[in-house]
């Protein structure tokens, strides 16, 4: 039991960190530009596939370096040449545009790499067990993922809190007009932030690809989860996104390893109870309902605390 708890906690925190790599870009872009980027998970998927392709050609370490940069540049180009003009048509048009973009990215990935999962592996130099807990070997690749995520998190924190560009970004979050009047190029800051946010998502894709499956449907289910994270954490709050990412990561990981059900709690339904249509509720296990827990959490948060865990404004 203890073994299960420790391994699940490690995996959960790791998954949460990956989620945060994506959610951080999404939530910052949302509070700065007011754009909810539906294609964010699509760029994560592009990162994974670019990582796969580059690591096939040049090796994993090049992929780790190049894929986020390339995808980030694509993201910056999308902001500069499309989103900026669509901004004038209002939020609905922007959201629809990124929705269409997510759809096109999925189609393009399917055309180039097919619908089946690709054989994306981590570097052979990390292919050994780092340490073992009880009887389980913990792969060193996962330790490496930990290190990358934490490093990015710390770097992000330092840049935002300590550097000049971080100050401008923080100011543009709340007072873009004032920042522009002070002589800063807010448009450039927006493009930069968008590109970096996309690059972080792509980085998550590159390092998560070998562990999770690299497949053309990996984005579609993820984007809703990211929305849950930024709503639960509070819109525009990086700290909230961090906590919510870890929370969702842990919940998801623990739920799939638990096996209880209403039937195991109260005993099976008596044979003369109504057997019609809804008896499943009695027998589904916690592992089976794992996918719905985040959305149930979303609805609970919206009812009980609409501004999210760390948000200042009501959603």
């Amino acid at each position: 039991m203890l073994e299960l708890v420790i391994i699940s906690a490690l995996n959960g925190v790791l998954y949460g960190l990956l989620l945060f790599l994506m959610a951080s870009g999404l939530t910052v872009v949302f509070s700065m530009l007011g754009v909810l980027n539906f294609a964010h998970a699509g760029f994560y998927m592009l990162g994974a596939f670019f990582g796969f392709q580059i690591s096939k050609w040049f090796g994993f370490w090049w992929a780790l370096l190049l894929a986020p940069i390339i995808v980030g540049l694509i993201g910056a180009a999308v902001e500069r040449f499309a989103l900026r003009d669509i901004h004038r048509s209002g939020h609905v048009a922007e959201l629809l545009f990124t929705f269409g973009l997510a759809y096109v990215i999925e189609e393009v990935v399917q055309i180039i790499w097919g619908k089946d999962p690709v054989d994306y592996r981590g570097p052979p130099s990390l292919d050994f067990p780092a340490f073992s807990i009880f009887s389980t070997n913990y792969p060193s690749y996962k330790v490496f993922m930990f290190a990358v995520s934490v490093a990015v998190f710390v770097a992000l924190l330092v840049v935002i809190k300590r550097s000049r560009i971080g100050l401008v970004v923080q100011a543009s979050l709340t007072h873009p007009q004032m920042v522009a009047h002070l002589g800063h190029n807010v448009g450039l800051v927006f493009t930069l932030v968008f590109g970096v946010g996309i690059g972080l998502a792509a980085l998550a894709g590159v390092i998560a690809g070998p562990i999770l499956q690299t497949q053309s449907n990996m984005a579609a289910s993820l984007i809703a989860l990211l929305f849950v994270i930024i709503v639960v954490g509070g819109l525009g709050s990086l700290a909230g996104a961090f906590v919510a990412s870890l929370l969702i990561g842990l919940i998801q990981t623990f739920a799939v390893s638990l096996d209880g059900s209403l039937a195991s709690l109260f005993g099976p339904l008596s044979p003369d109870a109504p057997q019609f249509l809804i008896r499943n509720i009695w027998t589904v296990t916690i592992a089976q309902v794992a996918p719905i827990i985040p959305y149930a959490l979303l609805i609970l948060v919206l009812i009980l605390r609409p501004m999210g865990l760390f948000g200042t404004r009501e959603t």
Binding site: F30, G34, L36, A82, D85, I86, R88, S89, G90, H91, V92, A93, L95, L96, F97, F99, G100, L101, Y103, V104, E107, V108, I111, I112, W113, G114, A220, S221, I223, A224, F227, V228, I230, V231, L235, F276, L277, I278, R279, N280, I281, V284, Q288, V289, P291, I292, Y295, A296, L298, I299, L302, I303, P306, E314, T315
Partner: protein, 433 residues
């Protein structure tokens, strides 16, 4: 310009005198009644059932998107729940010998959609805009996940099937032959479209427009935007449920994909491409979408890609959709500049088509090399044969795209100039654009 139009209230766009109103709806009824005598084949009647349900579904979606300004990513949930309730009631009615004939089953689906919307709507319509969209997506994911868990009700991956002919006969009709199903669908399409049109004319419909355009002022007038959005949401759920039930009747089955992602995406595409600013927009969009999805797949294997790109282009360059773009041309027509504008279109069309042809050629060639790499390189797309492995093909594609792009830019400047002219004249004469 387009922005103004897309936010213009429905009523100003279509100033129907009474008589024309009755004439149009009577004409629609006659066309619907006469359709099977013109298109007698069962396949065209099946296609109509498909189109008809898509029309109701798109119109119901436009209550949210066009009228109230709510962009929902999970509208198929209400469609799907309507379909499942219809299928289950079609199974239960003969089993318990209830005296409910088939034409009333869509009502059951509609009520199911309505009840679900009543349940989920209150939380999700608290806020409009982006937050609403996110919550609708969350609810959609929740519904799909639940559908795969509650296998007794939703039938798991296989879905639930039924037999529509087992229900009590309705004036001798058992709805076995396709033509009888056609009339059932046509009847419900007519009733639903009429009801939804009427809804846009009621005070509720007007206040929905107001909530879309300026919720703060609506609050000052004394209405609660939340309640207005909630009511619109419930109506949308009702008609989506009817559409789902009709689909279940024509396919005699329901599947968890009915409430899933693909279905929600399809209704967003068809409604927006058709145009959200006028009532017939979603109808045009639904016909267009069903037609393209049925016919494009014969021409190319990657039609979804083209469809996605088309959608992006519409969002980027023609936010009014097909309907809104057509309506936009009433202004130049009134100032007598439509001919000039159409001429610039015709000129701009040539390089634009070259650009498109070059792009399609490039895409099809790439598709050949990635998807069917081991097959014969002489491929055929859109009825044109070419050799995908030859350098000439690549050259042609690149040249077409380059010429199309640079010449196209020049010709589109001509279009802009013609529009500016027309706009200047219109503002001189005081004609609203």
């Amino acid at each position: 310009m387009t922005e103004l139009l897309s936010s213009a209230p429905i009523s100003r766009v279509v100033p129907w005198p009474r008589l024309r109103f009755y004439a149009v709806w009577a004409m629609v009824a006659v066309v619907l009644a006469a359709f099977p005598s013109v298109f007698t084949s069962a396949s065209s009647l099946t296609t109509f059932s498909l189109v008809g349900t898509a029309i109701i579904f798109a119109l119901s979606y436009n209550i949210l998107l066009g009228q109230t300004g709510l962009l929902s990513f999970g509208h198929a949930v209400y469609y799907g729940i309507g379909a499942f309730f219809a299928v289950h009631s079609m199974n239960l009615i003969p089993q318990y010998g209830l005296p409910v004939p088939l034409p009333f089953v869509p009502l059951i689906g509609g009520v199911a959609g309505l009840l679900l919307a009543i349940l989920t709507g209150w939380i999700s319509t608290r806020r409009a805009g982006t937050v609403f969209s996110m919550i609708s997506l969350g609810i959609a994911e929740l519904a799909v996940a639940l559908a795969l868990i509650l296998t007794d009700f939703f039938g798991g991956e296989d879905g639930i099937s039924t037999n529509r002919t087992k229900l009590p006969a309705w004036f001798g009709w058992h709805f076995g032959p396709q033509v009888q199903v056609y009339y059932l669908v046509a009847f419900w399409v007519f009733i639903s479209a009429l009801a939804m049109y009427a809804l846009t004319r009621t005070p509720l419909g007007k206040i929905c427009n107001a909530v879309r355009d300026n919720p703060e002022r609506v609050q000052f007038v004394g209405y609660d935007p939340h309640v207005v959005r909630y009511l619109a949401f419930c109506f949308a759920g009702l008609f989506a449920g009817i559409a789902g039930a009709l689909a279940a009747i024509s396919f005699e089955s329901a599947n968890f994909t009915d409430l899933g992602w693909v279905k929600s995406g399809a209704v967003i595409f068809s409604t927006y491409i058709g145009g959200t600013s006028i009532f017939v927009g979603p109808i045009v969009g639904a016909i267009f979408f069903v037609y393209l999805s049925l016919s494009l797949s014969d021409y190319t294997s990657v039609w979804q890609l083209y469809f996605g790109l088309l959608f992006i282009l519409v969002v980027r360059y023609a936010p009014g959709g097909i309907g809104g773009t057509l309506l936009m041309h009433r202004m130049p027509l009134r100032v007598g500049r439509l001919g000039g504008i159409l001429k610039t279109y015709a000129i701009a069309a040539i390089p634009t088509l070259m650009l498109v042809a070059g792009f399609v050629l490039a895409v099809e060639t790439i598709v050949h090399h990635t998807v069917n790499a081991n097959e014969d390189p002489r491929i055929k797309a859109f009825g044109v044969s070419f050799d995908a492995s030859s350098l000439v093909t690549w050259m042609i594609a690149v040249v077409l795209m380059l010429i199309g792009y640079f010449v196209g830019r020049l010709t589109w400047q001509g279009v802009t100039r013609a529009w500016d002219d027309a706009r200047t004249i219109a503002s001189e004469r005081g004609i609203p654009s």
